[in-house]
């Protein structure tokens, strides 16, 4: 099972590996994690990154460093997908007027407020 997970992670990694040299830009790590089926928050991604060595200059992550950390994430089933009804609740919570929709401006306001 571990071998299969590792293959999957490697595949996803290689899609973002522009120069085929087993490194990706650190800014793509979030994308890779998410395309493997996880739903981390930005903060969680950053936290994960602290565990992975980032090569300077340029901010590159090597597959060798990424693989073990990501494998553990998948094995531990961290950052599980959010079920649909939970998301629905989330939208409803922001819909103060209970009209069934929220405007773009409102959404932006909420997402950028701390």
């Amino acid at each position: 099972l571990v071998a299969e997970i590792e293959k999957k992670i490697t595949e996803a990694f290689e899609v973002f590996d522009r120069e085929s040299n087993k490194t990706v830009d650190v800014r793509e790590i979030g994308c890779i994690i998410r395309s493997l089926g996880c739903f981390p928050t930005e903060a969680e991604v950053q936290e994960l990154l602290t565990k992975i060595e980032v090569e300077e200059p340029g901010g590159f992550v090597h597959l060798g460093n990424f693989l073990p950390v990501m494998t553990k994430v998948l094995l531990d089933r961290r950052f599980q997908p959010i079920p649909e009804d939970v998301i629905l609740h989330a939208f409803e919570a922001l819909d103060e007027n209970k009209c069934g929709y929220i405007t773009k401006e409102d959404l932006v306001k909420h997402l950028t407020e701390e």
């Binding site: 994308c31 998410r34 989330a90 922001l94």
Partner: protein
């Protein structure tokens, strides 16, 4: 509320990431399929090699048929070319409403052409031919490497591949302005094929070339090559648009292409070539080659030496006029096998040696044509001069070396790793690394290279530490929304400034559904490929299913598929789009393959294995048909079709009974007198686009 926002953010980010992943995978799919198509070209050449070296024709008819395949066009000396492709006798009827050209060309002619093409008009064949003759005259005077300078404040605009996409050329002219004494342009090859308006692009480019010869520069690309045109659509386009004079026009294009310069140098500092370089690229050699001798850069590679030795033997055999049959048997198996039906009886020695000489001469001609030398060589090439060109003053370069120089320039790709290796994916040229670039730039005191040849998402891309710039000007190359096109402007400071665009204006505002369409088409292409390899896939799957349960794990599925298709794609990522239903992580592979088969529109009465073979070799078959179809009519006779198929299947080791072939042929509509419209035939095997 905060928590809600965070949740939404999480969910949204994941959604975006997934889309991004899919987009990149789709890109990869198109690229790998495109390149594996070019790999088909290798297979085709292996097929021709096989015919040349190993196949023993069992009848004179077969032998004739094969040699016809190699005679890709009658060779014309220059005067003959002018006579054959003469345009003066062609009348332009009064009913013709398109633009009229007169020479020398003026800027007004260019604008007239641009307007005409915008309104989908067609230029009369007479003017096309006239234009081609004048273009040829002009190109002949140019050196292999054009020199451009950005003196004062002049800028040079460099454009990459256009591939018959006229809309992109219009966009470029609209955004950047037309060529003029104050606006220089370099067009870096691949003007034709794939897109549907290659002809119009060439007419426009050649027109501007003649009006502003100092400001407009064209480089040859790997698609400016009639062998490639046969496969990728230019030949078809010309024949469809010019039914009467198409053949002449094609012949002229073939000649004009080989007179296109090979490279352009800006300020002695920036080299522009279509493909790339190799570790043996030698600009001095390139400057001196006779570029018009390389009519098609694609040709057989192997067995040049061995296939010649027996020829020498045969010639020796012939010069001793009293040679007996033993001398003949030492000859190559291909065609010097005396068939009792053909060869005169050995009793009559004079007759025999005459026959032998004729056959040998035929073989030399075939060899010669194969290597595409001397189609317009003024002097007769003796046998030994085929091997090396010895000129009294020039260094003794062999044709082989010169050929490699040109091939590398037109077909190579950069790679991130150091070194230089054969480009097996395309079947020609090299992959060259940053160290090769460094050395090359150093050797010739250059600042950087500009090349094209590869589609890039943003229309341009740097690599090798910004020493190599790829510029690609055909937007939406794979599909609507696939990529932008770009051109680059260089001033005297030689700092590149880019302008990007996308021909379909709404493309970058693609809705979700439209983007889906792009993704869908990639997967459709992939499913077709999978179908084409059904039997190989079944054996691969079976090897993982020892207990014959009919099921395999998804992990094994991915490994098996990669081992068969060798496309280097992330199968585990793609799996959800390709495999619909799984049970406990196991796949019932037989029914999955059956589902794939059902998607393809098929002729039910043809055996499915045959169908698979046709699918897999479709593009090669098409190319072979076009080669046989020398008058470009789109029709080949039933017999030729059978012959082709027989040869091809014996090479591919396909078991096929005569009944099998007959069934196949019967299912195709016969037009008129036993001729097969192979366009129709091949069309029948194209995927039906699924209705949204």
């Amino acid at each position: 509320a905060f928590k809600a926002a965070v949740l939404i953010q999480q969910w949204y980010r994941r959604h975006v990431a997934r889309l991004e992943m899919r987009r990149r995978c789709t890109w990869r799919i198109f690229q790998s399929i495109e390149y594996s198509c070019e790999q088909d070209q290798i297979k085709l050449h292996n097929f021709f090699s096989y015919l040349m070296d190993q196949f023993t024709p069992s009848s004179s008819k077969e032998r004739d048929f094969i040699s016809r395949m190699f005679i890709s066009g009658e060779s014309y000396k220059e005067a003959e070319l002018e006579k054959y492709c003469d345009y003066e006798s062609i009348e332009v009827p009064d009913s013709y409403t398109g633009p009229h050209l007169s020479f020398p060309l003026l800027p007004d002619h260019a604008t007239a052409l641009l307007e005409a093409f915008q309104q989908k008009q067609q230029l009369h064949a007479r003017y096309v031919l006239n234009l081609l003759h004048e273009t040829r005259k002009h190109l002949k005077q140019l050196p292999n490497i054009s020199h451009v300078s950005t003196c004062y404040s002049e800028e040079v605009t460099v454009c990459g591949d256009l591939h018959g996409q006229l809309d992109d050329l219009f966009l470029i002219f609209y955004k950047n302005g037309l060529p003029s004494p104050s606006k220089s342009y370099v067009f870096n090859g691949d003007f034709v094929d794939r897109g549907k308006q290659s002809l119009e692009i060439l007419v426009i480019l050649f027109t501007f070339l003649l009006i502003y010869p100092k400001e407009v520069h064209l480089n040859r690309g790997n698609h400016e090559d009639h062998m490639v045109n046969l496969r990728y659509g230019f030949t078809k386009e010309v024949m469809q648009k010019y039914k009467v004079h198409g053949k002449k026009i094609l012949r002229m294009f073939q000649n004009v292409f080989c007179w296109l310069p090979l490279a352009t140098l800006i300020d002695q500092k920036v080299l522009i070539i279509h493909g790339g370089i190799s570790d043996t690229t030698d600009l001095d050699m390139l400057e001196k080659v006779q570029r018009d001798k390389f009519i098609s850069v694609l040709r057989l590679k192997k067995r040049k030496e061995t296939s010649r030795k027996p020829q020498i033997q045969a010639i020796n055999g012939e010069s001793e006029s009293g040679t007996d049959a033993a001398g003949v048997e030492a000859a190559p198996r291909l065609s010097l096998q005396p068939q009792s039906a053909q060869a005169p009886s050995t009793a009559n020695r004079l007759e025999f040696s005459r026959w032998l000489r004729q056959t040998v001469q035929e073989q030399i001609d075939t060899c010669r044509r194969l290597v595409d030398i001397s189609e317009s060589e003024p002097e007769e090439l003796t046998y030994s001069s085929m091997v090396s060109l010895k000129d009294a003053d020039e260094p003794c370069w062999t044709r082989q070396e010169e050929w490699k120089q040109v091939l590398d320039i037109l077909w190579s790709d950069p790679m991130p790793q150091e070194g230089c290796r054969e480009n097996k994916v395309r079947g020609g040229g090299c992959y060259f690394g940053p160290d090769v670039t460094e050395k090359f730039l150093d050797k010739y005191s250059l600042q950087f290279l500009i090349r094209s040849h590869e589609c890039k998402q943003e229309g341009y891309e740097f690599c090798h530490n910004r020493k190599v710039l790829t510029i690609f000007s055909a937007s939406n190359y794979y599909e609507i929304g696939s990529n932008r096109g770009a051109y680059v402007k260089l001033g005297p400071d030689l700092i590149p400034h880019f302008v990007q665009y996308q021909a379909n204006k709404t493309a970058h505002l693609l809705t979700m559904t439209q983007r889906q369409g792009f993704l869908e088409s990639a997967f459709r292409a992939l499913r077709e490929k999978l179908f084409a390899h059904t039997s190989a896939l079944i054996s691969a799957f079976k090897s993982y299913d020892r207990d014959n349960t009919g099921k395999i794990t998804l992990s094994n599925w991915a490994t098996a598929v990669e081992s068969v298709l060798r496309l280097g794609l992330p199968w585990r990522m793609l799996r959800p789009q390709l495999v619909r239903s799984t049970e406990n992580g196991m796949l019932e592979y037989k029914s999955w393959l059956d589902d794939l088969a059902m998607e393809q529109r098929s002729q039910e009465h043809i055996q499915s294995s045959l169908l698979e073979v046709i699918y897999r070799n479709r593009s090669n078959l098409e190319t072979i048909f076009r080669i046989i179809d020398r008058d470009h009519s789109g029709l080949i006779s039933f017999e030729e079709f059978q012959q082709t198929w027989k040869l091809f299947s014996s090479h591919m080791n396909i078991e096929l009974t005569d009944d099998g072939i007959n069934d196949l042929v019967r299912s195709i509509d016969f037009n008129k007198d036993g001729n097969i419209d192979f366009n129709e035939f091949l069309e029948a095997f194209r995927l039906v686009k699924q209705c949204p």
